[in-house]
């Protein structure tokens, strides 16, 4: 344990200084920064002026919060709770009912333009947003009130970023992500179902250290975490290049750790650092465990990445009441149909020729007579 009273004070005795420094170094590594910034990060993280955070829950399963609480390298839950001043979090706070709502109001009033607003869950917009209400107010109301007053918004999870599962077709509640509602505000999307908590932590530390968000891609995702395809850093990639594929789960190829491309792995079209960062402090991740990537960090993945065990989504054909066909079927129909039409066309041509030549010769005979 360190003798630094401030550190001890600050981390509440739950985390050793060593663990704390390791956490900061890890955050720096995740961000792709040099070790030189670690002292700066430590300083920022230990500053008594902890940025207030308001954490809003809407249409979600709380999986993102759960995943964050279970992060363990090093005990990121503790680190997060001490790094920031979590003023409002429906799952974690002690307050309830009127008191809780009071907390939210106070936090916003006191820290306008200073607090970080973390949004977890999609926001329904249909019928005035009545499909998600907290304390009698719609999610739409709450987010339009809170988000513009924040310093910046972090949309954690695919639901808050892009609408998520409730925005899947036919999207009965008209659910959307924060970026579709709140305009003119810095919004950082950390999608995933759930996202890797280390990406969230690294983003927070970046904001604390530099006061600005990390570099973002077109979809508002931090590039340090979502800048590369899973496929490009996948441990099974050599098998892909070699043409060695799992044909079905449990076959010899699967046992040998071949590429999961043919059983529907969406790694080639999914941006995330899962293959590098891994999960749960044990180096585990879906593809490593033998299951293909389902593409959960991409917008609309419930529509575009399904079925999970196929490359490409089914195509909606608006005939006969609507059929959802496999994309492969389209090809069969196109080629089969073309071949059939060609054969029929050629047969008609040949038939006509035979017919006219028979007719012609009989006419000739008639003429001779």
């Amino acid at each position: 344990m360190s003798n630094n009273d401030h550190t001890k004070d600050f981390v509440g005795g739950g985390v050793s200084r060593r663990t704390f420094l390791k956490g900061c170094a890890l955050a720096a590594a995740t961000l792709g920064l040099s070790p030189d910034v670690v002292p700066k990060m430590v300083e920022a993280a230990m500053s008594p002026k902890r940025p207030p955070v308001v954490w809003l829950h809407f249409q979600e399963c709380t999986g993102c919060s759960e995943s964050l609480l279970r992060s363990a390298r090093p005990d990121i839950a503790t680190l997060i709770l001490d790094l920031i001043s979590l003023d409002y979090h429906e799952t974690l706070m002690a307050a309830a009912g009127k008191q809780a709502e009071e907390n939210l109001r106070n936090a916003i009033k006191k820290n306008t333009g200073k607090f970080i607003c973390v949004v977890e869950g999609g926001i329904p917009t249909k019928d005035g947003g009545i499909y998600c209400k907290i304390g009698g107010r719609t999610a739409l109301d709450i987010v339009t009130e809170v988000a513009p007053r924040a310093k910046m918004v972090i949309a954690i999870g695919t639901c808050a970023a892009f609408g998520g599962v409730q925005a899947a077709k036919p999207n009965p509640t008209g659910a959307v992500g924060v970026q579709d509602i709140v305009k003119g505000q810095t919004i950082i999307n950390i999608p995933g179902c759930p996202p890797n908590p280390e990406n969230f932590l690294a983003t927070v530390v970046q904001i604390l250290t530099y006061g600005r968000p990390p570099e973002l891609d077109e979809l508002g995702r931090p590039k340090f975490a979502y800048g590369r395809k899973i496929h490009d850093h996948c441990e099974r990639r050599p098998h892909f290049d070699e043409g060695r594929f799992v044909e079905c789960f449990g076959d010899p190829g699967h046992k040998k750790g071949y590429c999961l491309y043919k059983v529907g792995c969406k790694g080639p079209v999914t941006y995330s650092n899962c293959s590098v960062e891994r999960f749960c402090n044990v180096g585990a991740w879906p593809v490593g465990a033998g299951h293909g990537c389902i593409g959960c960090t991409e917008p609309g993945f419930w529509d575009t990445m399904m079925p999970i065990y196929k490359h490409l989504p089914g195509i909606y054909i608006p005939l006969g009441g609507g059929i959802r066909e496999q994309a492969e079927k389209i090809g069969e129909v196109a080629v089969g149909g073309a071949a059939a039409v060609i054969a029929a066309h050629a047969a008609v041509g040949v038939g006509k020729k035979i017919f006219s030549s028979v007719k012609g010769s009989s006419q000739k005979k008639d003429d001779e007579k």
């Binding site: 590369r228 991409e298 575009t304």
Partner: protein, 235 residues
């Protein structure tokens, strides 16, 4: 209908060397793209679990796919240039159904292909039906090129922005890229069949024209003489 025989034909030069270069570059690159593309989409197992020898087959075929893709894009650029700078038969105004004459010709074309008439319309350039389909193919080719570039360079900021604005996520681009592939296969089948069929039915000799750039045109009334006279004869 009895055809006037014997008929006098002129060999007239229609397709410039640049257009033929475009045609064959597109043809060969499409052929390679379709074959390697099908492998990339659905790679058949070639190892039999034994890993008998290293083959690097997916990487190699992907490499061929990308190389052929560049030839394909170059061919499209050449065709785009010819839309404006080509001879009169290579410009869209000649082969798209945008005026009365071309519309009439289109109706006649369709009748001819449906065996409703035996009267072959001798046209210097593309028939209107063919021209329209080629134009659609060109548009599809552009979409193929753009989705292909998006899938190949999804991390290049400019390409990523273009792809994201036009097609959405790479998965959506991949679906478009895959579906249009079937249009190309469909087109190759129909195109080859129609070319051969026309060689039987019509006197223009369009298959050899794809190499030589010339067409056989009858010298009598059925072809537009005023156009024919403007054309320099080859031999």
């Amino acid at each position: 209908m009895i055809r006037k025989e014997p008929r006098l034909y002129y060999r007239v030069f229609v397709w410039s060397g640049t257009l033929r270069l475009f045609h064959w570059t597109l043809a060969f690159s499409t052929f390679i793209l379709v074959l390697t593309g099908i492998y990339i989409h659905y790679p058949p197992i070639t190892t039999k679990w034994a890993e008998f020898k290293p083959q690097y087959i997916m990487a190699t075929l992907r490499y061929w796919h990308f190389c052929a893709g560049y030839f394909f894009i170059c061919a499209l650029l050449v065709r785009f240039y010819l839309f404006f700078a080509g001879n009169q038969y290579e410009r869209p105004t000649d082969f798209l159904p945008i005026n009365k004459r071309n519309l009439q010709s289109l109706v006649h074309n369709i009748k001819f292909y449906l065996y409703l008439t035996d009267e072959h319309e001798c046209r210097m350039g593309h028939t209107i039906l063919a021209g329209t389909i080629y134009f659609i193919l060109f548009i599809c080719g552009v979409i193929m090129g753009l989705t292909g570039l998006y899938l190949l360079y999804p991390e290049t900021p400019m390409v990523a922005r273009m792809g994201h604005d036009l097609f959405g996520t790479p998965q959506q681009a991949r679906l478009i890229h895959y579906l249009l592939n079937w249009f190309f296969i469909f087109f190759i089948m129909v195109h080859l069949y129609i070319a051969i069929w026309n060689d039987f039915k019509a006197p223009d000799a369009i298959i050899s024209g794809a190499f030589s750039g010339s067409k056989m045109m009858p010298a009598d009334l059925e072809c537009p003489i005023e156009e024919l006279e403007k054309i320099p004869f080859e031999k």
